[in-house]
């Protein structure tokens, strides 16, 4: 961060959260639902950004961490009858554990090999979901009933199928992860991560165990993506193998590239933008993938820093 002024930075992030809070009361039903979905998925993008944006590790397999959370939460509710909070924790734990194992293996490689290895591990994970269709529901997926999606705290109970509860839960998760990301990025650890991205060899010669730092980042990233997946399963009541497919490894990359890699708010902007672009265009074309494809190529060619990255470069140098 350049000339960091923590007060200004935190004020900006808090106002974004406040704006999202206020939107709940103004948005029409349809858009309220869409925003809840976008916020849950923006968490996925933030987790991806931590690794891709700040450490410079381009993974093509993050769908496995998202779906580890999705299935970790969904299956414990569906088969074991766990409550919502326990299931959420189970989902995050699954993602973190998976990320630890994958990180230990994949971090032995770098560059293109890292991209292919992560893609292959994700493919294995996807195929395993199909193979164990008896438990996972395979490509049909499983629907989690409304009755299992109620949180009872003390006397009060919150029904996650209620639009406002759902919106506020998504917002709560989003806000926590946003502030955690911000804190990490501004911390000493965040500085080391950026140094690894810029020049790993040099960072080693400053006394840093770069492998251990990268592994920590992979686990943190995996856990955040799993939190997104777990929230998605519990808030929207569906788990399915399509969330583990290659496409869901590409989407966070697209969102982050679009919003701006290595910016804290970029993932939200990218997810929001892409969701509304596809939502609007789906009115007159079903060619969703075409838009994704064209967007990817245009971004890499002409706009590699993304929306917020370009804004930061031109005007707001202090943006984290």
């Amino acid at each position: 961060m350049r000339n960091a002024s923590p007060a200004k930075t935190y004020a900006l992030h808090i106002s974004v959260i406040a704006l999202l809070f206020a939107l709940n009361f103004v948005l029409p039903d349809y858009h309220q639902g869409l925003f809840a979905r976008i916020m849950a998925l923006a968490v996925f993008a933030m987790g991806y950004n931590l690794l891709f944006g700040y450490v410079g590790l381009l993974s093509l397999g993050h769908a496995m961490f998202f779906s580890a959370g999705l299935y970790g939460a969904g299956l414990t509710v569906y088969h074991l009858g766990w409550g919502v909070p326990e299931a959420f924790v189970a989902g995050v734990a699954c993602g973190a554990l998976l990320a630890l194992v994958i990180g230990l293996l994949a971090l032995r490689t770098s560059g293109v090999a890292f991209m292919i290895v992560t893609m292959m591990f994700a493919q294995v994970f996807y195929l395993l979901i199909l193979y164990f269709a008896a438990w996972t529901g395979g490509d049909q997926g499983l629907v989690i009933q409304q009755a299992s999606r109620v949180i009872a705290i003390g006397g009060a109970s919150f029904d996650l199928t209620d639009p406002t509860v759902r919106y506020m839960s998504a917002l709560a998760l989003f806000s926590i992860i946003l502030l955690v990301t911000l804190a990490v990025v501004c911390s000493r650890f965040g500085r080391v991560l950026v140094a690894i991205r810029e020049n790993e060899e040099r960072t080693k010669m400053l006394g840093y165990d770069t492998v251990a730092n990268k592994l920590t980042a992979v686990v943190a990233s995996g856990a955040i993506c799993a939190a997104s997946g777990a929230a998605y399963a519990l808030l929207f009541g569906y788990v399915g193998s399509s969330f583990a497919s290659v496409q869901y490894s590409i989407l966070p990359l697209l969102w982050v590239l679009l919003g701006g890699a290595a910016t804290t708010l970029g993932p939200l902007i990218g997810t929001l933008f892409m969701y509304y672009v596809t939502d609007i265009t789906s009115g007159f074309t079903s060619a969703y993938l075409l838009i994704v494809g064209v967007a990817l190529i245009l971004l890499v060619l002409f706009f590699p820093k993304g929306i917020l990255g370009s804004i930061r470069e031109r005007w707001l140098r202090w943006l984290p």
Binding site: A195, G207, D209
Partner: protein, 242 residues
Amino acid sequence: MTPLLTTKGLSRHFGGLRAVDGVDFTLMPGEIRAIIGPNGAGKTTFVSLLSGRIRPSSGMVVFDGADITAMPAYKRVRLGVAYTFQITSVFANLTAFDNVALPVQRTLTDGRTKGQVRSGVMAALERTGLAERAGTLAGQLSYGHQRLLEVAMGLALKPRLLILDEPTQGLADSEIDNFITLVREIARDAAVLLIEHNMPVVMQLAGRITVFNSGKILAEGTPGEIRANAEVQDAYLGAAHG
């Protein structure tokens, strides 16, 4: 006094090439030692073996009484062996402040120093005369300033041995004078080992000089002895001027 660093039979082969060949080397605490020798004599490979960037084919490295031959580079840095690169490799996209903050926070985490990151960084930047440029991106600094930043980063690691690989390369004459003052100052807290081609700098700075040729130590002694050594003149000065 016990030596700060010793190597015994240190060798590194690349295929058939013996880049470093059975070197026995001793460095005392507080010493300023220059390593000279013709191109390809194995100087950079030798210091890379000391810093741990390259693994030796055989032999051992002892630092402050402990065998560090098998220790990875980052752990050696934590013990106090700092290395600045031959080619400037500051973090171009980070500010000068952040560049120095990385080694400063490292020593804070280790508990080797106490205090705040900010004060530590500013102290190192002031010592190298870069304090005013703390907020500038390192890539936008002049070449001379980048080299100084590199030294500031080395300093901030609180090293007990600072290895400088051709530190004056590309510096203007006025900058070289400042640099000499700086190295003398560093040597009050740490031993300095520098690879250097600029003979006047070597003669002014070094307490002792080690001459490398074909991966071996050809000669070692005070600047006066080295200047008088006929073998050195043949191998090195002859090669450099002929």
